[in-house]
């Protein structure tokens, strides 16, 4: 089902969405793009993708899990109940919306993490087709289509006049039935597709997947490709699908809060135990990151934990390019 809307009406629609819940749109703050609560800012005329991936709104770097308080003779403990307020995020790129779905099986399952799942449940995702290929990105190699996405409730394609919307879910449909949109057809949708600049595929994902097991034992290969690595957490913290975390307490003498915060497999302390660290060497940690995304995650969840957004490539302080490593494995 397709609808269309012009620029002016779109802005009115965004404001009207605020009646439905909190609306987040891409906003440039402090020189970097983030999803910010819609207040007075304008819909951006142009943006590539946010610096901080959208996972941050679902799996924040600082999530309070529970609090406690010592009372005379006993102790009170409170669970932080995840918020139930409805949210709408407008302008998600296909890579980021895919990442939200990829993370779902990690947090679901026998031990369901309500913090993530409730955030996903309370958020309506309104995606937006890309107009340009981001630097460092390899989304098409990762089978993410920059022009279409089924991981949203509504997916938009920009046209010179406004947007064409494709309705994907029922709750998405509910949002369009508000008088702002006009009906459109398949042909409008097709016409709104933008030609993305072509480039030869760097690698074939299937071959990479097949080769990773045999590459795992090649110590020298991993030593060589990880030589530049700084052991910083940029690639994991900016990655839309990295989800490793740490649990830490903050306290005063009488009360405290237990938090979950990001942790990174690039840090030597990540796996360090009292006497032994199974991933003490840099190459092991780098191998873990690549293998986890492209091999282990696939074995556990039948999907690759990478959407090719290119943040880790573009923001790596030493230009350690994941694409080169995948190409080499290919």
């Amino acid at each position: 089902m397709f609808f269309k809307i012009n620029q002016g009406k779109f802005k009115e629609w965004l404001l009207a969405l605020k009646n439905q819940g909190e609306v987040y749109i891409p906003t440039k703050e402090n020189n970097l793009w983030v999803y910010a609560l819609l207040e007075r800012q304008e819909w951006p005329a142009y943006f590539l993708n946010t610096r901080i991936p959208v996972k941050n709104l679902f799996f924040p770097n600082r999530q309070a899990l529970l609090s406690w308080k010592y009372e005379p003779g006993s102790m009170g403990m409170n669970s932080f109940v995840p918020e139930g307020k409805k949210r709408l995020i407008v302008g998600l790129r296909p890579c980021d919306s895919r990442s939200l779905q990829l993370l779902k099986p990690v947090f679901a399952g026998e031990y369901a993490d309500i913090f993530y799942l409730k955030n996903l449940d309370r958020t309506i995702l309104i995606g937006l087709a890309c107009s340009q290929i981001c630097p460092g990105s390899f989304c098409r190699e990762m089978q993410v289509d920059p022009q279409d996405s089924a991981d949203n409730d509504i997916f938009l394609r920009a046209t010179p006049e406004g947007f064409v919307a494709k309705v994907i879910t029922e709750r998405g449909k509910g949002l369009l039935a508000q008088g702002f949109f006009a009906e459109a057809g398949e042909n409008d949708w097709a016409a709104a597709a933008q030609e993305m600049p072509g480039r030869d595929a760097l690698f074939d994902l299937e071959i990479v997947k097949a080769n990773l097991n045999s590459f795992f034992a090649q110590e020298e290969f991993w030593q060589k490709v990880s030589a530049k690595c700084l052991n910083c957490g940029i690639c994991t913290y900016l990655c839309p699908t990295c989800h490793c975390f740490d649990i830490c307490d903050l306290r005063t003498p009488e009360k405290g809060v237990r938090f979950r915060c990001y942790d990174s497999c690039a840090f030597p302390n990540f796996t360090k135990m009292a006497v032994h660290n199974p991933r003490a060497e840099k190459w092991r940690r780098y191998r873990q990151r690549v293998s986890h995304k492209f091999n282990f995650f696939f074995q556990n969840f039948q999907a690759i934990a990478c959407v090719g957004c290119g943040r880790c490539v573009n923001f790596c302080p030493v230009n350690l390019d994941l694409r080169e490593i995948l190409t080499a494995i290919h």
Binding site: S79, V81, F216, F245, R258, T271, P278, R279
Partner: protein
């Protein structure tokens, strides 16, 4: 959607603290919630996440036997932040507990077999849960041999258990230390060497081992020499864990998460691991 916070621990009271060695203590803990005391079930080999509020959580196996109900026991060697905080607690203090997590020793498979337990130092803790479980259901198993070693006689943990086992005519207990003293009557020597001296038969036997990594490595070699096949040898692995739920991403060995797929593995399984990162 079910509104259960999987990270929220149950409150438990420390009802007894036993000083095992200079740096190891055993804690007996009991759920504050009386219903949980009744309903809480686990199996030998499983572990829990214990929290000292304000210091954090740490992972230890449950060292008491599931057959002995009423309270849980766990043993802690003072090595880091949480363990140090635990050592400073007193009887009557509250701690948090989440669990039980992980897999367990496949007792069904062990039935009707000769069991050989090989433990070193604090590594006796997970074995102890299993040994006491087996002792309480003694009729299901054939010969039981326990080989336990520590650095010095002072470093032997669970001396009360060792005493009870030594008095039990249906068990064979061998204790050894690296360095003895004038009162020491047991053996002197490293566990793998004593193991080779004992010459246990691999016939219809299962060996279960836990201890420091270096001991495990040489014990596995000794068992191999004695003719134990990889699927006859079981161990429990130790990895750093935070969540215990297969989410936080640090305890993996290849695609396996020790907190969910382990910590109990047979040597057969371990040999098939893609990775040596444990």
């Amino acid at each position: 959607m079910e509104e259960k916070n999987i990270y929220q621990p149950h409150l438990m009271e420390i009802i007894k603290i036993i000083v095992e060695t200079g740096d190891t203590k055993t804690f007996h803990i009991q759920f504050l919630d009386e219903k949980l005391r009744e309903n809480f079930h686990y199996l030998a080999g499983q572990f829990g996440e214990y929290s000292v509020f304000g210091e954090g959580e740490a992972t230890f196996c449950i060292s008491s036997s599931p057959t002995r109900r009423g309270h849980l026991e766990f043993s802690v060697k003072k090595v880091g932040r949480v363990t140090q905080a635990l050592h400073q607690l007193n009887e009557g203090d509250l701690i948090g507990f989440r669990g039980p997590y992980g897999n367990f020793f496949p007792l069904e498979k062990f039935k009707g077999k000769n069991l050989l337990f090989i433990g070193g130092g604090i590594g006796l803790a997970p074995l102890r849960s299993l040994i006491n479980n087996v002792v309480d259901t003694r009729a299901d198993y054939r010969d039981i041999t326990i080989l336990y070693g520590a650095r010095t006689p002072q470093d032997l943990c669970f001396k009360y258990d060792l005493e009870a086992w030594s008095k039990d005519p249906s068990l064979q207990l061998v204790t050894t230390v690296d360095v003895g003293d004038k009162d020491w009557k047991g053996k002197v020597g490293l566990v793998p060497i004593i193991l080779e001296e004992l010459q246990p038969s691999p016939q219809n036997a299962v060996a279960i081992t836990c201890g420091p990594p270096i001991m495990i490595r040489y014990t596995l070699r000794a068992l191999d020499k004695l003719g134990f096949a990889p699927d006859q040898v079981w161990t429990t692995l130790e990895m750093k864990m935070k969540c215990g739920l297969g989410k936080c991403g640090r305890c993996n060995i290849g695609p396996l998460y020790v907190c969910q797929d382990g910590p109990v593995f047979s040597l057969d399984e371990i040999q098939k691991f893609i990775s040596d990162e444990f």
